[in-house]
Amino acid sequence: MRGAFKTLLYLAAAAALAYPLTPFRDVYVLHVLVLIMVYMVLAMGLNILPGFCGLLDLGFVGFYGIGAYTAGLLTIHYNMSFWLIVPLAAVNGAFFGVMLGVPTLRLVGDYFAIVTFGFSELVVLFLTNEIWLTRGPLGVPGIAPVSIDATWLATLLGVDSRWRYAFRGEVPYFYLGLLMVILVYCGMRRLEDSRLGRAWLAIREDPMAAASCGVDLLAYKVIAFAVSAGIGAMAGAFFARWTLFISPDMFKFWESFLVLCMVVLGGLGNINGALVGAVILIALGELLRVALPRLGLPTETRFLAYGLIMVLIMRFRPGGIFTQVAETTMQSGLIKELRARLAARRTA
């Protein structure tokens, strides 16, 4: 049964992979799929804070915005390559993460949440009002799409031609997004079972016990914040070079809420859950976008459903809808053994 399920899963993955190359492909569907991938990366990035460290971050979209604007502005002013911009945007996001994190990560609980919220609102205000830099509410249009320039390779090989491929349409972005999701996913899986990840989980379970075991709380939290911010900024850079237009109102609080909702839906601290949460909520959003006007309601009211989902999940399934999946995510033998011993002692 499990084997058959796995085979089915692989088949589905293969079908999804091949879909953009088949003649049945549809631009709209592809667009939604790429959007899902952006949110998958965001959800995995956010998951580090409330999921691994137990810190509620309400300002995640601030880093997403910083990444997107870093990418957008570097592209239109310096025409920099996407492959250079992504690390730069991630570093810039992480830099702001550290700047915000060092003074505020001493706070816990609600206060930390509020400070991050204030930060993301300040980011939006800055993007709206510093017109000299960001063009303000008009946004930044005309960002060049991603391109791969291999002319240097051609000259190296002595071929006299321009090997340059500019991304057009959704298909190349589909694969680029997939690459990004896979990279972040693998990184997260490795992080979760690393020394760093164990320290984070220890902080989440019991900060005092963690500190007495030699975990430097502030340092590990700042690292978590920086990594999370860097991933958010990376997703922002991709987003900017994909939609080719960014404006401040794309980075409002609701986006933070939406990403948080995905993480909560999938189960806090559950990487697979974050992916599933992104798929469900973006798909739901698209469905409601079609369904709501038919009922004579504005499309913004789809947030009604999101709010309700959040409340119901917290009430009835606080571990997310996939608690079983959450338990199988952990691969570290050490932690599994410790958990088993703890469970045995509890029942005894």
Binding site: V115, V264, L304, G307
Partner: protein, 294 residues
């Protein structure tokens, strides 16, 4: 000019203070940032509008809206927060955000997403006229009404908290819930009372803002809620007089900031105040420090 800014800031500040007491009281008794409080304030404005359009006079409409929002506040607690009382704090906080968004969108479905004007015909004609005029400063009758109502409500609230049995129970709960329960206090009833009281205050603030700016819209609770929360933090979260002081201080700071520093960053004043206070003086003006530090 400066004096006029001061007058306008004071008006705004009193309104923030009325919302802030709701945050601070709820935080005092259950240590939860009730994110949905901003939506209660918005509902106060819209429910008043609905009552007026049914032909009720303004004072009656406001009173009914207060009662209705008090009921909504209690319902919010019973349905959403009470089941999570023993759950991790994160769960309750996420629920609060969820409820906030739910209520906001519900209002959008009921009243539409476009801003509505406050029904002028329900206001007495003299409201817009200046009541006091010193050389360059004018205070309108509407501002006077706002001052009187807000101050009366706050004095009344303070009396309720300090003089009545339920108020004493509230303060006992804020100090130690278990001990309060052991003394025979019906904890859930007192919490419901706190929600009702805070929501009623918030509703009045909503009416006054929509009257003052002559507009109301379903998302109005968001920004006002954040600012009032900043005011509560500034005054010291958990302290009712602190929330009043914090509200007035924030209102004046915001108006002066907009007038003399930079008007596009008007809303930034509240965020900056909030962040700085939380980092450097988490106990605010009058509160005891509730910020746990790791």
């Amino acid at each position: 000019m400066f004096e006029q800014q001061l007058v306008n800031g004071f008006t705004l500040g009193l309104i923030y203070a009325l919302i802030a007491v709701g945050y601070t009281m709820v935080y005092g008794v259950i240590e939860l940032i009730n994110f949905a409080h901003g939506e209660i304030y918005m509902l106060g404005a819209f429910l008043t509008l609905s009552c007026i359009s049914m032909g009720l006079p303004l004072p009656l409409a406001v009173l009914l809206a207060m009662l209705a929002t008090a009921a909504i506040g209690v319902l919010l607690d019973v349905v959403a927060y009470r089941p999570l009382r023993e759950a991790p704090r994160l769960a309750a906080l996420i629920t609060a955000i969820g409820m906030s968004i739910f209520l906001q969108n519900l209002a959008m479905i009921i009243w539409g997403s476009r801003p509505l004007p406050f029904p002028r015909q329900a206001l007495p004609a003299f409201f817009a006229e200046p009541a006091l005029r010193f050389s360059e400063v004018t205070v309108t009758w509407m501002q006077i009404v706002i001052y009187v109502t807000a101050l009366a409500l706050m004095v009344g609230l303070n009396l309720v908290i300090t003089k009545t049995r339920t108020g004493t129970a509230m303060r006992a709960l804020a100090q130690n819930r278990t001990a309060a329960a052991l003394m025979g206090i019906n904890v859930n009833r007192v919490i419901s009372f706190t929600f009702a009281l805070g929501s009623g205050m918030g509703a009045v603030a909503g009416v006054m803002v929509s009257m003052y700016y002559n507009t109301m819209y379903p998302t109005m609770g968001y920004l006002a809620g954040v600012k009032a929360f900043a005011a509560a933090v500034l005054g010291g979260i958990g302290s009712v007089p602190g929330a009043m002081l914090g509200g007035v201080a924030l209102g004046i700071a915001e108006t002066l900031g907009a007038g003399y520093i930079s008007s596009p960053y008007r809303d930034g004043v509240a965020y900056a105040v909030m962040i700085l206070v939380i980092i450097f003086r988490p106990s605010g003006f009058l509160g005891r420090s509730m910020v746990e530090k790791a």
